[in-house]
Symmetry: C2
Subunit: 345 residues, 2 copies
C-alpha cells in the first residue's frame, strides 16, 4: 500500500528551497511513498527538475501563513494557504499525513479546526523524540497546553504510548511522569493526581521520572505539562549550544589546540553526528483525527527529511488507529477532562 504525504512547501525559514529538495531526497529512499508538494506553484517549480520526478505532484495554494500571523487570523483569513490546503488533503483522504515547518500556532489551529480532535482529547499535544543513553524517549507535551489538569497528563500518556507502539513496535512502552522527585509525595497537586490516573490506566506506568531521568532513558514516554516540557526542551537546547561553543573555544585556543582539533576531527564528527538534533526533527501533533507533523522552522533539508520520515513512520505504524482504539477504551476516564481544568487558548 502506498503512502501519500502532503508537504507544506512554503513554511519554515527557507521555504521551497529546503522543503522541496528534502522531499525529493526522502523519496529516493522510500519506494512506497509519494508526495504532494503544496504551495505557490511557480516557486515550487523553480526548484524542481523537469519533467517532474516520479511520485511527485504539485498542489497549488495561493497564500502563505507567515511566522507572525496570529493563528486565529491564519485560520479565518487565509483559506488558501499552503498549510490549510495540506491539512485539507489529509481530511479529504487525499493524503495520509501532512508535514509543515510553518507557524506552529497556525498549524495547530488549522489542524484542530479541519481535522477535529479524537473524542476525549481536548487539544493537540506536541510530542517529539529525544535521544537517551539507552535509546530514545517520546516526550509530550512540549508547549501546546500551558495549563494542564491531571486528565490532560493521562491523555498524553495514552497518546505517547500509542505513538511509541506504532513506531517502535513495543507492545507495552513504559510511561513516566515528569516530576521533581521519584517518591509519590513529590510534586504539585496536578502531578500527584495524574499519577493516580496513570496507575489505573492500564498503561505500563513506571511512576515519576526526574529531569535527569529523561536522558537516562528511565521511560519510553515521558509526560508533562506543556509549559514544563517546553522549558525543559529549550533549556537543554541552550545547554547543548553552550557546551558546543565552549568545546570549540577550547580547540581554537592556540595553534597547538587547533592542530589537536584537526587530529581529533574524525572522533568529534562521530560525536556530532550522534547528537545531531536534526535527526530528531519532527514533532507530532497528537490527538487529531489525522497525522500532522511539525518541523523546526529553521530546519535544513537533512532535518526536514527526518520530519517527513517521522510522518511516514506514523502512517506505516498505524498510529492513528492505535490511538483511536486506546482512547475509546478510556473514554469514561478521559471524559472527565471536559469537566475539569480548561487549558489556555
Amino acid at each position: 500500500m502506498g503512502i501519500t504525504i502532503a508537504i507544506d512547501c512554503m513554511g519554515g525559514d527557507h521555504g521551497p528551497r529546503v522543503t522541496v529538495p528534502a522531499a525529493l531526497a526522502y523519496l529516493s529512499g522510500a519506494e512506497d511513498v509519494e508526495v504532494v508538494l503544496v504551495g505557490q506553484e511557480d516557486k515550487i517549480r523553480a526548484v524542481l527538475p523537469t519533467p517532474l520526478p516520479p511520485r511527485v505532484s504539485i498542489k497549488h495554494a495561493s497564500e502563505v501563513v507567515t511566522m507572525d500571523d496570529p493563528p486565529a487570523q491564519a485560520l479565518r483569513n487565509k483559506k488558501d494557504s499552503s498549510i490549510r490546503v495540506a491539512v485539507n488533503m489529509v481530511k479529504a483522504g487525499e493524503a495520509d499525513a501532512c508535514v509543515s515547518a510553518g507557524n506552529t500556532g497556525a498549524l495547530m489551529a488549522i489542524s484542530r479546526f479541519v481535522l477535529k480532535m479524537l473524542p476525549g482529547i481536548d487539544r493537540p499535544a506536541i510530542c517529539t523524540v529525544l535521544p537517551t543513553m539507552r535509546s530514545h524517549v517520546y516526550m509530550l507535551d512540549l508547549g501546546a497546553n500551558v495549563d494542564c489538569g491531571p486528565e490532560n497528563l493521562l491523555q498524553f500518556g495514552i497518546m505517547g504510548a500509542m505513538l511509541a507502539s506504532a513506531i517502535d513496535k513495543k507492545e507495552h512502552p513504559s510511561v513516566g511522569l515528569l516530576n521533581i522527585g521519584e517518591e509519590d509525595i513529590k510534586g504539585n497537586d496536578v502531578v500527584k493526581h495524574a499519577a493516580e490516573l496513570l496507575k489505573d490506566s492500564g498503561l505500563n506506568f513506571v511512576g515519576n521520572v526526574e529531569g535527569d531521568g529523561v536522558f537516562k532513558g528511565d521511560a519510553d514516554v515521558v509526560v508533562c505539562d506543556g509549559f514544563v516540557g517546553n522549558v525543559a526542551l529549550k533549556t537543554t537546547e541552550g545547554l547543548a549550544q553552550m557546551l558546543a561553543f565552549f568545546l570549540k573555544e577550547e580547540f581554537r585556543r592556540n595553534w597547538l589546540t587547533k592542530l589537536i582539533a584537526l587530529i581529533a576531527l574524525p572522533v568529534l564528527k562521530g560525536f556530532k553526528k550522534r547528537v545531531d538534533h536534526r535527526r530528531y526533527n519532527g514533532a507530532t501533533l497528537l490527538g487529531l483525527k489525522g497525522i500532522v507533523v511539525k518541523s523546526h522552522g529553521s530546519a535544513d533539508a537533512f532535518a526536514f527529511q527526518h520530519a517527513i520520515a517521522c510522518a511516514a513512520g506514523e502512517v506505516r505504524g498505524k498510529m492513528l488507529e492505535l490511538i483511536s482504539g486506546r482512547v475509546a477504551r478510556y473514554a469514561p476516564a478521559l471524559a472527565e477532562s471536559t469537566h475539569s481544568h480548561q487549558e489556555s487558548p
Copy 2:
C-alpha cells in the same frame, strides 16, 4: 572584620571525610574566615590534624539528620542534630552563615523554624548560579516552591537581584522571567501576572526569557516556579551526563580513537574544567533572616569548598542587608502574597 562560618560536617554522602578537608582547604585561601565544625566531635577529630589548625573550632552536636528523615521529624525530634546546631549558631549571631550538604527538606524546615522568614517572604527559595555563554546566571526557585503565585515570582526576582548585587557588585542586575516565548502573550496566567508585577517592581526587568536564553545569558537572574526550575535544572544535568557519556564512547571506539583521546587530553581537560559543575556547587536558601547554603549531597571536597566560598561571598557582599532593605521597600506588593496562592508544604 572576620567572618565565621558554621559547617554541618555530618551532612552529605561522605560526611566529615569530605566536609572537614574542604573546610581546611578553603581556609588556606581565605584569611578573613574562621570555621566552626559542627557535628559528632569524635568523628570530626578523627579527620583533623592535632593541634587544631588556626581559625578552626569544633562544636559538638550529638545527632545526625539522615537523608531519609522526613523534614518535620528532623525538626521535632533531632534538636541536637548538626544541622540544627549550625543553624542555631547563625540565629545566635555566633556564625555569619552556615553550610550543609545534608537533607534539603530538613535544612529548609529547620532554617525556616529557627531563623524565620523576612517579612513579606513566604518560604525560602533555592537559588543557584549556572554558567552561561557570557558569564553566569542566578536561577531560582529550584524546587522549594512547587506551586507559585505571581507574588512568589516577584519575591524571587527581588531576592535573586539582591544576591547578584551582593556577589557581582552589579547595581541593577537584569531579571528575566522563564517562559515559553518571548512575547508578552505567552505562558500561563501565573507568569503573565508575574510579568506585570515585575514590570512595576523597579527591578531591571528584561521580560520573558526562554529556556535556551538561560544559557545564552539573556539575564543575570532568571525566576521561575520551583517545579519548572527543578525540572529544567535536572534535565540539563541529565543532558550533560549523556553528552559526556557519548563523547567518551566515541573516544573509546578503537585503538586509533583512544590514541586521539590521549593527544586531545589537554584540550578535553580544559573543557571539562570549564564546565565542571563542582565549581557551581552551593545553592542559597533565600528569604531567611540568615545565610544558609546547601551543598549537593554528593559533593566532593573541591565542590564543598565552593559551597563554603558561596556562603562567605554572601556575607562579604552583605546580601542579607541588601535583600532586607529591598524587601522592605516592596512590602505592600509582597504582602499580597499572603492573600493569594499558597504553596505546598
